[in-house]
């Protein structure tokens, strides 16, 4: 874990979001530092995806403040520092004309100027991202022909191609088989430990990831943060969220 004296990647203060009369998020506050590995869990409709969308400036908060790398959201311009893999990213339109390499190259678009072609650095980053995700041999394949697990790795490679400081993933395992999910968690852990990429992701697989994550955010309109990974599954808040005892969640881990 990084020293608290450094500028956090995300600094969220008293964040609330309301749609008409319905309060989706209420007074959520937290900080995310470089190198962290954080999972977000919570019931459907609890505000997990909304929180991510607020962090990414895809929605405007009702009140509160978000800072990214020390800058207010409206002043932040270096969006390439954030890699984002949205929910259902693997459920691609099968007719869309895109090879694996076409998709991964998209990760470099924001870094290139309007008039610039692919520089040798761009090509190297694209190659590197595909190598890390073990999809080099698929680079000329159409994305629509790949399996869910392969598509998942392509989407992460796209996000990695921009050399992000943080990777944000919203339920990345949608439409992915169990074997690929295990491989996916291994890759995420490797990116976090070896590349020092901060990981923030929404998941339902709390049992599977409990050993690796550093902190757990539970979101159900309000946010609760479990800071001690060893006690993750005994957090009362986790049990309350899902309406089942924490030990059941722990047992769920061994069923995978």
């Amino acid at each position: 874990m990084s020293l608290k004296s450094e500028i956090p990647i995300f600094e969220v203060k008293q964040l609330s979001f309301r749609v008409r009369e319905q309060l989706i998020l209420e007074n959520v506050s937290f900080e995310i530092f470089s190198g962290e590995y954080i999972a977000i869990i919570g019931p459907n409709g609890g505000g997990k995806t909304t929180l991510i969308r607020l962090l990414l400036n895809l929605e405007k908060q009702t009140s509160g403040e978000i800072k990214i790398f020390g800058k207010k959201l409206k002043d932040f311009k270096e969006w390439y520092k954030i890699g984002y893999v949205p929910q259902r990213a693997t459920l691609v339109d099968e007719t869309f004309p895109a090879t694996v390499e076409d998709i991964v190259k998209m990760g470099r678009v924001a870094r290139r100027g309007i008039f610039a072609g692919m520089s040798s650095e761009d090509k190297a980053k694209v190659h590197d991202a595909m190598q890390k995700m073990d999809i080099l041999d698929l680079k000329d394949k159409m994305v629509g022909t790949l399996s869910g697990g392969q598509r998942q790795r392509v989407m992460i490679a796209r996000a990695l191609a921009s050399s992000p400081k943080i990777l944000i993933l919203d339920e990345p395992n949608t439409g992915v088989d169990m074997v690929s999910q295990q491989r996916f968690y291994g890759l995420l852990g490797k990116l976090n430990k070896e590349e020092n990429i901060t990981i923030l992701f929404i998941t339902h697989d709390i049992g599977v990831i409990a050993d690796d994550i550093g902190r757990l955010f539970t979101i159900n309109r309000k946010a609760t943060i479990c800071n001690d990974p060893k006690k993750l599954l005994s957090c009362d808040e986790v049990s309350d969220l899902y309406g089942i005892p924490a030990h059941s969640l722990a047992n769920h881990k061994h069923e995978h």
């Binding site: 990414l56 969006w79 869309f96 998209m106 290139r112 000329d140």
Partner: protein
């Protein structure tokens, strides 16, 4: 083939036609991938309002069509992004509204004549030198914009939200795309006709998509199909005295059907 090119009007028609084929197919690739296919049809009807105003008021119909088309494109984008109305519903309202308005204008102005007919269905005889200059001038600027922002437009077509989160100016580029599409459609109505230009924009890309190749190759195939359709269609138009728009569109539909059969699963 070479005999018909000895006529000035055919040379003008071919220059304009090949330029329009290039513009329509390249912009059409983004239009189709962004699910904006109906927009091209709607803007073509809006351009007709410009033609009607031009004919009745005595201005160059092509220029007025460009202006009205751009304004319509902006209005559509504004309505889509600012109100809770389904996109296809907005397009449908604009499409029928534009056509109704155009009919009223030409009725009141007494401009229901052969000139209007040529704008509806295209006519290779009607392409003047001024039209060629306008098409090549505006068309070159439009093409430059499309090629300059092609990587951003492709990213937006693939996933608008992810493109936005990576720092791409999605709203600006969406407005730019519809503006360029509006210009291209207005420029095309001389050769292809306002009722048929939507087809030249959409069908080459849909046919190219059947070959399931990457983005760049899809665009090249669509361009080839569009160029071929224009050459073949205008030749048919010349030899059989048929409206050029109709022969071009039937040619591209034939290519689409062949592509569909070749790539049948």
């Amino acid at each position: 083939m070479f005999e018909m090119l000895s006529y000035d009007f055919m040379q003008r028609a071919f220059i304009a036609g090949l330029f329009i084929a290039t513009l329509a197919s390249i912009s059409g690739t983004f239009v189709v991938l962004k699910r904006y296919s109906l927009m091209s049809e709607t803007l073509a009807h809006s351009a007709l309002v410009g033609v009607a105003i031009g004919l009745v008021a005595g201005y160059n119909p092509l220029w007025v069509a460009v202006v009205i088309s751009i304004l319509s494109a902006w209005l559509i984008e504004y309505l889509r992004s600012s109100f809770s109305i389904y996109s296809d519903a907005v397009l449908s309202i604009m499409l029928s509204g534009s056509l109704a308005l155009a009919v009223i204008i030409v009725s009141l102005g007494g401009a229901f004549n052969n000139s209007l007919f040529s704008y509806l269905f295209g006519s290779i005889l009607s392409v003047s030198n001024a039209d060629v200059y306008t098409i090549v001038g505006f068309g070159s600027i439009s093409l430059a914009f499309l090629l300059l922002f092609s990587k951003e437009l492709y990213f937006i077509a693939y996933d608008e939200e992810v493109a936005k989160t990576s720092g791409i100016k999605v709203k600006f580029l969406n407005f730019l795309l519809v503006t360029v599409v509006a210009i291209i459609i207005a420029l095309s109505i001389r050769v292809v006709g306002s009722l048929l230009i939507g087809a030249l924009m959409v069908i080459p890309t849909v046919a190219a998509l059947q070959y399931r190749v990457g983005f760049r190759n899809t665009m090249f195939i669509a361009l080839f199909f569009a160029l071929f359709s224009v050459i073949f269609g205008m030749s048919l138009s010349y030899y059989f005295s048929l409206p050029s728009g109709a022969t071009i569109v039937l040619s591209v539909i034939a290519i689409f059907i062949i592509s569909l059969l070749i790539n049948k699963k």
